[in-house]
């Protein structure tokens, strides 16, 4: 196992005790992309900081490439790359200077590992002498990834790498991660975007410091046990209210242009359409749909 986490708990003592992580356990196989999916405040960053040896867990054990996060923290620091959620490179140094600096403190050079970062660095090359602070959001992200990769880490920790980046750059970013995966790097990434979950080999849904489910994206979707319907009509807002009041409806959540509706067992969806039409809604459409990761997450959250 590349990353092994057993019963990790961590709480912060402030005005009141906040439990950031409760009994977290999971493992990541070598060469896999593992996604931590969850809303803000779920405890993702805390877990990253424990695994990157920045803070100590209250309870439990964790190893990265068989190295214990407490005993062998110095060894871990040599073999992991960490990209914190907040852009934290030197804004007053140029792209090249940042990269050189991080290569040097890891005791290596850009040339030595150039083939690993080449795909990403090529895009940064035109701006190599620009100050990091003057880069666009997407470019900053790429630079941060380069800096985290420049010493050829065995495990890469990416804390919300795509937050605040446009859709195109996000897709590009995940393509880059896929390519890195082929080079044998284990990746643990967190994201609040459910649509990115399908890019991972395995995901853990995390909320309020607890893991709701661990599965492959397709496994998670197949776990969704009841049929899901997409409902749309002209007056979307009132449709939602009517659906939520409906006795046969278990849950109704809005996804883009339609509501995803879960019904009680053995309820015929045509009943819903008729009831909505009876309430005066026009152009009502009810279709069976495949659940998304987000549906699974909402479902697990509501349980």
């Amino acid at each position: 196992m590349s990353i092994q986490i057993e019963n990790i708990s961590k709480s912060f003592v402030g005005d009141r005790k906040v439990s950031a992580l409760q009994n977290i356990s999971f493992q990541v196989e070598p060469g896999k992309i593992f996604g931590l999916i969850g809303p803000d405040g779920a405890g993702k960053t805390t877990l990253f900081r424990i695994l990157t040896t920045l803070i100590l867990a209250d309870e439990g054990q964790a190893t990265v490439q068989k190295y214990d996060v407490i005993k062998d923290y110095q060894k871990i620091r040599r073999i992991v790359g960490y990209m914190p959620g907040k852009f934290s490179l030197y804004q007053d140094l140029s792209v090249l200077e940042n990269l050189k600096f991080f290569a040097t403190i890891f005791g290596t050079t850009i040339d030595e590992n150039y083939n690993l970062i080449k795909d990403i660095y090529i895009q940064l090359e035109p701006f190599r002498d620009r100050k990091a602070g003057a880069l666009s959001g997407g470019m900053k992200q790429k630079l941060a990834l380069c800096c985290a990769l420049v010493h050829r880490p065995e495990v890469l920790f990416l804390d919300e790498p795509t937050t605040g980046v446009d859709v195109v750059s996000r897709a590009e970013f995940w393509d880059m991660l896929k390519r890195l995966q082929t080079k044998g790097i284990t990746i643990l990434a967190s994201t609040p975007y459910m649509d990115e979950a399908s890019m991972c080999d395995e995901i853990a849904l995390i909320q309020d410091g607890q893991i709701l489910s661990i599965n492959t994206p397709s496994g998670l979707i197949s776990e969704f046990d009841s049929p899901l319907y997409g409902v749309s009509a002209d007056d979307m807002y009132n449709v939602m209210n009517d659906l939520r009041d409906h006795t046969s409806v278990v849950s109704c959540n809005t996804f883009g242009a339609e509501h995803h509706v879960q019904l009680k067992p053995d309820i015929d969806p045509t009943v819903i359409r008729k009831d909505l039409e009876k309430s005066g809604h026009e152009n009502v459409r009810v279709e069976l749909i495949t659940p998304t990761i987000e549906d699974c997450f909402m479902n697990l959250m509501q349980q």
């Binding site: 934290s88 490179l89 030197y90 005791g107």
Partner: protein, 372 residues
């Protein structure tokens, strides 16, 4: 070694790209050394004085003339009503007034003795006190003058008279600039050494880069040295600029081997850098570091003997003053620059600052380690 070199290169790059730091390093010593020594001057010259003259005799006029033509006073009020004079003090027209009683001359002649009233506005303590002292001096002189005119001295003086003649050493003309400049130099070193370094380290915390460094195999001592060495060197730059200004502008020719001052400056910077490092360990933002640094700076400077002599402080304050590192550098620069002191003269300063530096830096490195 390659790592260390690159870390230093990075620090220097960042320092030289920060216009605020550069301005601070080159302009601050210039402004402080050009303006402060001229402005912050203890010699009080324009004391406003009022005279209430009930006598209007020859002697009274002579006394008033003596006061008026001294260098210290501006005669801003002349009246024969004490009430009016009190109003002057109320209105801040005068800092003190002297009341000459109606029978001043007559009593002086008849009884060989006369009384004057002096009322001082003590809201500005220094001005009032010094003004009163000057006035006393003038009256005393006037008194001797009158006596010499009146009394027929015997062939030899029946009372032994001691006249005190004093000469000021190391600052012959009691020039206030000569006194201030070495002190300001010392303060500048403290600013650059202590506080710029503290701000610099906290900046890494603030922008989050310290996180990235902590995950790397960079060693603590490499990081800390990378932060301290540039400011240590910049301290020497500031010292050199400062010495140049004091030589060319204030005409302060170092009386002794200036190397002693550089060596002591180096040791002092080491100590104060440790202090800066401590501040950075206990603060998370530059703003906090700034406020903490400012708090200590104010205490350090006011209790360093730069403005007010340590000897005039109460004994508990003297203890504080001799714990204060700034006291040692202020004293040492004065000894070396004005008195021509050598290594032997400031060996006690060396000892204390070296020990202090070791203690501060050990504490700083220790507390730094505990935090991450």
């Amino acid at each position: 070694m390659r790592k260390m070199r690159y870390i230093l290169r990075k620090e220097f790059k960042q320092i030289f790209r920060d216009p605020a730091i550069l301005r601070l390093i080159f302009i601050m010593p210039a402004i402080q050394l050009l303006i402060l020594p001229f402005a912050a001057d203890y010699e009080i010259q324009n004391v406003n004085i009022g005279i209430v003259d009930h006598d209007r005799s020859t002697y009274a006029r002579e006394l008033v003339r003596k006061i008026e033509f001294s260098n210290y006073f501006n005669l801003t009020g002349y009246s024969n009503s004490q009430k009016e004079a009190m109003q002057w003090i109320e209105d801040d027209v005068v800092d003190l007034f002297i009341e000459i009683p109606a029978d001043f001359e007559a009593t002086l002649i008849r009884e060989d003795e006369a009384t004057l009233l002096m009322a001082v506005n003590a809201t500005n303590g220094t001005k009032g006190n010094l003004g009163a002292a000057y006035a006393n001096n003038i009256i005393g002189e006037f008194n001797r003058h009158v006596r010499s005119e009146w009394v027929q001295w015997p062939a030899f003086n029946p009372e032994p008279q001691i006249e005190v003649v004093h000469s000021q050493w190391y600052n012959v003309h009691s020039n206030y600039q000569r006194f201030m400049v070495p002190g300001i130099l010392a303060v500048l070193l403290t600013m650059v050494g202590g506080f710029l370094s503290a701000l610099n380290i906290v900046k890494e915390k603030e922008i989050g880069t310290i996180e990235q460094l902590n995950v790397s195999p960079i060693r603590k001592h490499q990081f800390i040295l990378g932060k301290l060495i540039p400011f240590w060197l910049l301290g020497f730059v500031v010292l050199t600029i400062g010495l140049a200004i004091s030589y060319f502008v204030h005409g302060i020719v170092p009386e002794a081997n200036i190397g002693v001052l550089y060596v002591f400056g180096g040791v002092y910077l080491f100590a104060i850098l440790g202090f800066g490092l401590m501040i950075s360990n206990f603060t998370d933002t530059q703003q906090q570091a700034m406020m903490v640094a400012f708090f200590f700076m104010l205490i350090f400077i006011l209790m360093s003997g730069l403005y007010t002599p340590i000897e005039s402080m109460p004994s508990w304050a003297q203890i504080v003053a001799w714990i204060n590192p700034v006291t040692y550098i202020v004293d040492a620069t004065r000894i070396v620059l004005l008195k021509g002191g050598t290594f032997t003269d400031i060996r006690f300063h060396f000892l204390v600052i070296t020990l202090g530096g070791l203690v501060l830096n050990t504490l700083a490195v220790w507390s730094y380690r505990k935090q991450t």
